[in-house]
Symmetry: C2
Subunit: 274 residues, 2 copies
């Protein structure tokens, strides 16, 4: 999906919500456990119920890998379902990969050519040759970790160098030598509040993928106040607060209602730029 | 496996070689492609041929994931085979994972409880809560990326902070608040030469996992000169130079011979501490 197509989707649907498919067999409604593939059955129902209210889906690979071979089958079925039935939704694999060049190239082939995702989260620690192989695919995206939503983000990401540049700022600046606003986004946690201002000084036009509203406590209003640009420039993710909003047979309907609530807030917040 | 058990293995077998099982369907001998599971057939033959000459195996997960569901099956079969037939070999999943706490906890369960690996490589960018969940398992290890073997290691890992501390040094120092020499190792590329001296100032007793000899050009002698400690403290990995040394029906025998050559060099290099 191109940048312009993504912007069009956001403006048409008046939402920049991403639904996080962090599907955990221990948390899905009990009545699904009798299904042949409970994880896929859950995802399919959640997707059908939330699709009108979001522009993106983000399965976190850890949740699928934790189930071994079965999990990979559920993951691949979920992506195939999205590609077939909802081709206008942007698909993010939250994988946080990053390895030496020839290994990253292998990951890129897997995720972009075989599984047909739009984008992948990548960790920057290993530098350029761990990131560049993902940038060779037309219409595909790297979403680089910059300033994450967790407590541990303070351990290294905020370290200032001799010139006062913090590590996440260096990641933002340096990575622009490798990619651009048409093939690179950045992960910035919703819990980072005013830091979005500093980030927008370095990447005014790039899209930011923002986890951390809902269960992790970030504020959607703050994210928009400090992080939105004229194209929106935000994809805001919510996982647990939507997909586990209800654990009965009504789970999908309730998830849809929760997604709709967030989308309504987002429509308001988008007004100034529409 | 405990630290002492690992040291005993190294001293008894006079080798600190790790064989990297970076198994690529495009590079294995053609005659294996008719097997039901060519990747596992290759791994099994390589393992049987090299086991006397190494103390560890390191499958890089990217190579298995790139084959989707089939790849995961081959990976799990390989680990099960190692655990059953070679319980004294240390098993490293080169996964370079690292995510927010609850997700890292999920990875830890998968890799340590279900697949029964000894250790996992982890990327440090997200800080403490992305690493700590892996440290809760008795006899299991985190191998944290510190100074990697690739060109991109210069992009961020060498960045000096205000006090002149480089990022990889901060990773080494800070992570000692989370783990210790009994449950944490560090990845340091063989291509880093004299930098091992600086690393040993911060982590004199920890084991280092050293990729980058062979195809990537690092020197085993330099690694030992600057990085070995009284317990050896090194696990040196070679992948391509061993497992793809021959592409005929003799591939396993030749791989065994290559591993033996490296092990002979290692026995010499170990002499001063035995």
């Amino acid at each position: 999906m191109t940048r312009q197509e993504l912007i069009n989707q956001i403006k048409e649907k008046k939402t920049f919500l991403c639904v996080g498919l962090d599907t955990d067999i221990k948390k899905i409604p009990e009545h699904l456990l009798g299904e042949e593939d409970p994880i896929f059955a859950f995802n399919k129902a959640i997707i059908d119920a939330t699709a009108p209210y979001c522009v993106a889906y983000k399965p976190n690979l850890a949740f699928y890998e934790s189930m071994g071979v079965k999990g990979w089958i559920s993951f691949e079925k979920t992506i195939a379902y999205l590609n077939e039935k909802y081709p206008n939704h942007f698909i993010i694999a939250d994988a946080k990969r990053g390895d030496i060049g020839n290994t990253s190239a292998m990951y890129a082939r897997t995720f972009f050519e075989e599984i047909k995702l739009d984008s992948l989260t990548v960790a920057p620690y290993m530098g350029e040759d761990s990131v560049s192989p993902f940038l060779q695919y037309e219409g595909k995206w790297v979403i680089l970790l910059a300033l994450t939503s967790n407590k541990g983000s303070h351990d290294f990401q905020l370290t200032e160098d001799k010139d006062g540049e913090r590590l996440f700022e260096k990641v933002l600046r340096k990575s622009q030598e490798w990619g651009n606003k048409d093939n690179m986004m950045y992960v910035v946690g919703a819990t980072q509040g005013k830091m979005f201002e500093d980030i927008r000084k370095i990447v005014p036009d790039h899209f930011l993928l923002v986890p951390g509203i809902g269960a992790q406590g970030g504020s959607l209003e703050d994210v928009c106040r400090y992080g939105m640009n004229k194209d929106c420039g935000l994809i805001v993710n919510s996982s647990r607060a939507i997909i586990y909003a209800d654990k009965t047979e009504n789970f999908a309907r309730v998830a849809g209602e929760e997604a709709k609530k967030v989308a309504c807030q987002m429509a308001e917040l988008l007004r100034p730029i529409l």
